[in-house]
């Protein structure tokens, strides 16, 4: 049982480049989330999804896009990367109001 799998684990982007962070879960969870964590800080919600075909903005959605075509996958797209997007990105999933989120191991992104 893999849980929540994120790829890649590390990435360096140049300013203006684009990339997609992949997230897959095998627990049949309806809810999926993307968070970013800046050094020494808490987790800020970027986008979330309550099911396939449904997405909504969190606290810090600017500069990102998401899609949810299947229950398992919830990719995060960065368009025109900026240094302010340097962060660690965590994907998570849960049942609705479920007992705790399951987090992936994170993607460490640096924009230079």
């Amino acid at each position: 049982n893999a849980g929540v799998t994120q790829t890649p684990k590390f990435r360096i982007l140049k300013i203006g480049q684009s990339m997609t962070l992949q997230c897959t879960q095998d627990m049949n969870h309806n809810y999926m989330y993307w968070y970013r964590q800046d050094p020494g800080m808490g987790l800020k919600l970027i986008y979330y999804s309550v099911g396939a075909g449904i997405t909504d903005k969190g606290e810090v959605p600017n500069g990102y896009n998401v899609s949810r075509s299947t229950t398992e996958d919830f990719p995060l797209r960065l368009e025109l990367a900026a240094p302010s997007q340097t962060s660690v990105y965590f994907c998570a999933s849960s049942y609705p109001y479920g007992i705790g989120y399951t987090f992936g191991s994170g993607t460490r992104l640096t924009v230079v």
Binding site: G40, M41, G42, L43, E59, F90, Y101, F103, S105
Partner: protein, 110 residues
């Protein structure tokens, strides 16, 4: 908007001392969760509290949800070096997502 604050931001304790972190919300929460994140790792779910005044224990960890459901605490008795990490609370109000607190980073000095 929703805000969940945690204090202290950092705590250094001698091994064997107790540790407490506090979580305060600007609005009433329907439930609250606690997570632990080891250095370089990802958050791992510890526990969920739902009822007003609820107290739950996990070995040396005691979790409490305030009567007004606006605050919570995590207390660790006799800390060990394995307790090192950042502890986050996450509160759920009427929406679909939890708002994470700012976290308390615990250092245990052997």
């Amino acid at each position: 908007g929703q805000q969940v604050m945690q204090i202290p931001q950092y705590q250094h304790v001698q091994e064997g001392e107790d540790f407490t972190t506090y979580c305060n919300s600007s609005t009433t929460l329907s439930n609250i969760q606690w997570y632990k994140q080891r250095p370089g790792g990802h958050p791992v779910f510890l526990i969920q509290l739902v009822k007003s005044g609820e107290v739950k224990k996990q070995k040396r960890l005691t979790f409490q949800f305030g009567e007004a459901k606006k605050n919570s605490s995590l207390h660790i008795t006799a800390t060990q070096t394995t307790d090192v990490g950042t502890y986050f609370c996450a509160g759920l109000n009427t929406g679909n997502q939890f708002y994470f607190g700012t976290g308390t980073s615990l250092t245990v000095i052997p």
